[in-house]
């Protein structure tokens, strides 16, 4: 098995290079306003991917055998549900427990498990998030409205070009007997990045 951590520079695929080339030429020519472009792209962030991820999480909550496969080889377990990324990209599932909370950061917009989470949110790519997530994760979580018990350890995972992390949040209490579909509706994008928690079941 090769060491996935030994790449110390960034990689862009041939396709990404061509898209970036177009984007910068058109921006310089004044044909494209990058801010307007970002705004439009942002509207797609929440559209597709996070539903894929939510299905993975919900299945892991109800199916112990799937859960085991997910933590052994997440790329394969996710592909079982029909969600596949580019070759050579591995997704690693990290499990939130009562004692450990996981949070994912990456400084490159391309380092994001998009087959399961869709397009990265703008804040994920922002300098403040990238720099603060590692240094003061608790402060970042507070900004997202998440407060964890003091004795919960926070692990921050830095994505690489080859390894993307998917946080598997804890199943909300009070959801015994729920279907996968019902459970998937509780799983938010941010809960799979680790900057949020799944929605609580509605009272009553």
């Amino acid at each position: 098995m090769t060491d996935h951590h030994d790449h110390d520079h960034s990689e862009l695929s041939e396709t990404e290079l061509r898209v970036r080339a177009l984007e910068s030429v058109l921006t310089e020519n004044g044909y494209v306003d990058p801010a307007a472009l970002d705004l439009l792209i942002e509207t797609y962030e929440t559209k597709v991917g996070p539903r894929n991820g939510a299905a993975v999480v919900a299945k892991a909550w109800v199916d112990p055998a799937y859960r085991a496969r997910l933590f052994t080889d997440a790329t394969a377990a996710i592909a079982e549900l029909g969600y596949e990324g580019r070759q050579g990209e591995h997704i690693v599932a990290v499990e939130n427990t009562e004692t450990t909370h996981n949070m994912v950061v990456c400084t490159l917009c391309s380092c994001y498990p998009w087959p399961v989470l869709g397009l990265p949110p703008v804040w994920y790519k922002s300098a403040p998030y990238r720099s603060r997530a590692v240094k003061e994760p608790r402060g970042v979580l507070a900004d997202f409205g998440v407060t964890l018990p003091d004795d919960t350890a926070i692990r921050v995972w830095d994505s690489t070009a080859e390894i993307r992390y998917l946080v598997i949040p804890m199943r909300p209490k009070g959801t015994e007997g729920w279907s996968e579909q019902q459970l998937a509706d509780l799983v938010t994008r941010d809960s799979m990045i680790g900057t949020g928690l799944p929605n609580a079941p509605e009272a009553g």
Binding site: H7, S10, S13, L17, R20, L22, L26, D33, I41, T160
Partner: protein
């Protein structure tokens, strides 16, 4: 006219083959959304009409099929990107040479950028 969901809906209506679900266009990777948004922006600037775009895209798909492309949904945005490149060159917006120079510069920028830092294009990326 703003570059917004309404413009996207208009494009989705005009382009039958566009991968979509009930909520509008869907993308398999971030770059696809970028390529989509770029076409939207150029359309708004009046560089091409959607019917002109559809004709160019169909020609691109035909060319790829002739070269053995299976034309599955997976390659739709590859053809889309090729169409963008062709049209901006045909319309005199940016030549193939310019695009190639920028492509090389981005590659250089990626190479010199340590993992974990945002990749930014700098003037020296063009000097090689």
């Amino acid at each position: 006219m703003a570059l917004d969901a309404q413009a996207a809906a208009e494009a989705t209506n005009a382009l039958r083959g566009l991968p979509r679900d009930d909520g509008g266009p869907v993308f398999r990777a971030p770059w696809e959304a970028h390529a989509f948004a770029l076409a939207l922006a150029l359309h708004q600037r009046g560089v091409f009409s959607w019917s002109e775009w559809a004709t160019a895209l169909a020609a691109e798909i035909k060319r790829a099929q002739a070269a053995g492309d299976p034309d599955s949904g997976e390659t739709y945005y590859q053809r889309w990107l090729a169409t963008l490149e062709r049209l901006v060159a045909d319309k005199g917006v940016a030549s193939a040479e310019t695009l190639h120079r920028y492509r090389d510069a981005w590659n250089h920028a990626a190479d010199r950028t340590p993992h974990g830092k945002p990749i930014e294009l700098k003037p020296e990326d063009f000097e090689r």
